[in-house]
């Protein structure tokens, strides 16, 4: 082996050893740093928990210690607090929010919503949602037209957390513009709850008479159903009565099932006989959810209909199963495979 080759070999070997040592040192220092961070997080958590849940004197002392933090130490607490808030409720949550507000967290969150970086705007929206202050609604509504989807999504969720019904129209407008926000808007409206029911009913009524408003109408109907707003039954029935309402009728049928009022049974049985398979499925499921035995003869007729498609027949059999009693007797008399399937499911559920 020539001298030059031997030298190259030695240099390569030395470089490899150096790389292995560097990697080892890097890993060691990263592990140390992670251990230090974890210990510091654990110590901070202990102070936060004492502030929120400790005995009176202890708790006051911990709150004072947290408020006295400055600079990076306060930022660490603020970060920890914003992570904790969505995980807890009750007195502990209120106390944590009060601590943050006492040191201007709301103002900093507002400033974040105006930042050039979309990450900071998203963080601002998240923080405003966690703090849940109604004076943030204007800023959050403004973020619903942000060019970043992440910001729009977090602003929608934050509006749900704040729970102010004045933001309902803006949220439905956002879903109208941006189909990807549909689920977030629906969840946010449900979170606002009964307080937003009057706005949702009004919007649904307008959607019924406004072509092109099917999506926002469907969102309003679904939210009213999950909220369980009995006051929405007349407008939901009106939607089902309108044969030109298209997909809005599917959402209305589901909503009536969620609300669970027996007075919706006649209109649901009527639409169960229409030709739209999606509407048949929604009506069948809704009748099962309401569980009124008055629907049994109509469901039994529908089960005997040979032209009914697979999903629709399954929904009808499922409704008879959920009604129980007379519904189950009807399934036992039927020779439909869907009746047999529903009865088998009933046996499994009874055994569970």
């Amino acid at each position: 082996m020539s001298q030059a080759v031997r030298l190259v070999f030695l240099v390569l070997a030395a470089l490899t050893v150096a790389q292995v040592i560097a990697l080892f040192v890097f890993r060691l220092s990263r592990e140390r740093s992670e251990r230090r961070d974890a210990a510091s997080q654990a110590a901070l958590r202990a102070v936060v928990f004492t502030a929120l849940l400790g005995d009176d004197d202890e708790s006051q002392g911990a709150r004072d210690a947290l408020r006295a933090r400055t600079g990076r130490r306060w930022e660490e607490f603020e970060e920890q607090a914003f992570t904790m808030i969505p995980k807890i409720k009750g007195d502990a949550r209120e106390e944590l929010v009060a601590l943050l507000l006492s040191r201007g967290a709301s103002v900093r969150a507002m400033t974040n919503t105006r930042a050039r970086s979309y990450v900071r705007r998203a963080r601002g929206a998240y923080q405003l949602g966690a703090l849940g202050q109604r004076d943030a609604v204007g800023a959050l509504v403004g973020l619903l037209t942000d060019h970043s989807f992440l910001v729009r999504r977090l602003a929608t969720r934050a509006l749900g957390q704040v729970g102010d019904p004045t933001a309902v129209t803006a949220m439905l407008d956002a879903a109208e513009r941006d189909p990807e926000l549909t689920r977030d808007v629906t969840v946010a409206l449900i979170r606002v709850g009964l307080a937003c029911a009057p706005e949702l009913r009004a919007d649904l009524d307008t959607s019924l008479h406004t072509p092109g408003h099917r999506r926002r109408g469907s969102i309003a109907a679904r939210a009213l159903g999950v909220i369980g707003d009995v006051g929405a039954v007349p407008v939901l029935k009106a939607v089902l009565d309108d044969e030109d309402a298209g997909s809005l009728r599917w959402a209305a049928a589901s909503a009536l099932g969620e609300i669970g009022v027996p007075e919706a049974v006649p209109v649901l049985l009527r639409v169960l006989g229409e030709d739209d398979p999606s509407l048949q499925v929604a009506a069948g499921r809704a009748l099962g959810a309401i569980g009124d035995p008055v629907a049994v003869p109509g469901l039994a007729r529908a089960l005997r209909d040979p032209d009914r498609d697979h999903d629709s027949a399954r929904a009808v059999a499922g409704a008879l199963r959920r009604i129980g009693g007379e519904g189950l007797e009807e399934l036992e008399r039927s020779d439909s495979v869907y009746a047999a399937e529903a009865l088998a499911l009933q046996l499994v559920r009874q055994g569970a």
């Binding site: 997080q41 958590r45 929120l52 849940l53 995980k87 807890i88 009750g90 502990a92 569970a352």
Partner: protein, 120 residues
């Protein structure tokens, strides 16, 4: 025994229960909870439903299949509050469930109530 993969929640529950006078052990997943319970039978187990590896429902079933642990009260901590999820929890053998986000005070009361019920 408390099992939750979220350190914030795990330590919060430990803090609150220790404050109420309980000795608490905490782990980060269902398998570790079952193992720890088999080593030393606890008075009560709190299991998060969604955990990596073995979740709370499977851990609860495993406890119920162990004759020494079959009667140990189990409270599930769950983010899923639908009727079906709750039914599943009771089907797995849980004694009670607490929906996340939760109030530490409420959790502590539920623990006291379940322990009292079991002690008869």
């Amino acid at each position: 025994m408390v099992a939750d993969d979220d350190a914030d929640i795990r330590e919060l529950v430990v803090f609150k229960l220790e404050q109420s006078g309980h000795d608490v052990r905490a782990v980060g997943d269902g398998a570790a909870a079952v193992e720890a319970c088999q080593d030393d039978v606890p008075d009560l187990v709190i299991l998060d439903v969604m955990m990596p590896g073995m979740g709370g429902l499977d851990a609860c079933r495993a406890l119920r299949h162990d004759p020494r642990l079959a009667e140990t009260p189990v409270i599930l901590l769950t983010a899923r509050a639908q009727e079906m999820d709750i039914e599943q929890g009771f089907g797995a053998g849980a004694d009670d469930y607490v929906v996340k986000p939760f109030s530490p005070r409420e959790l502590s009361s539920r623990v006291a109530a379940v322990l009292q019920r079991r002690r008869g």
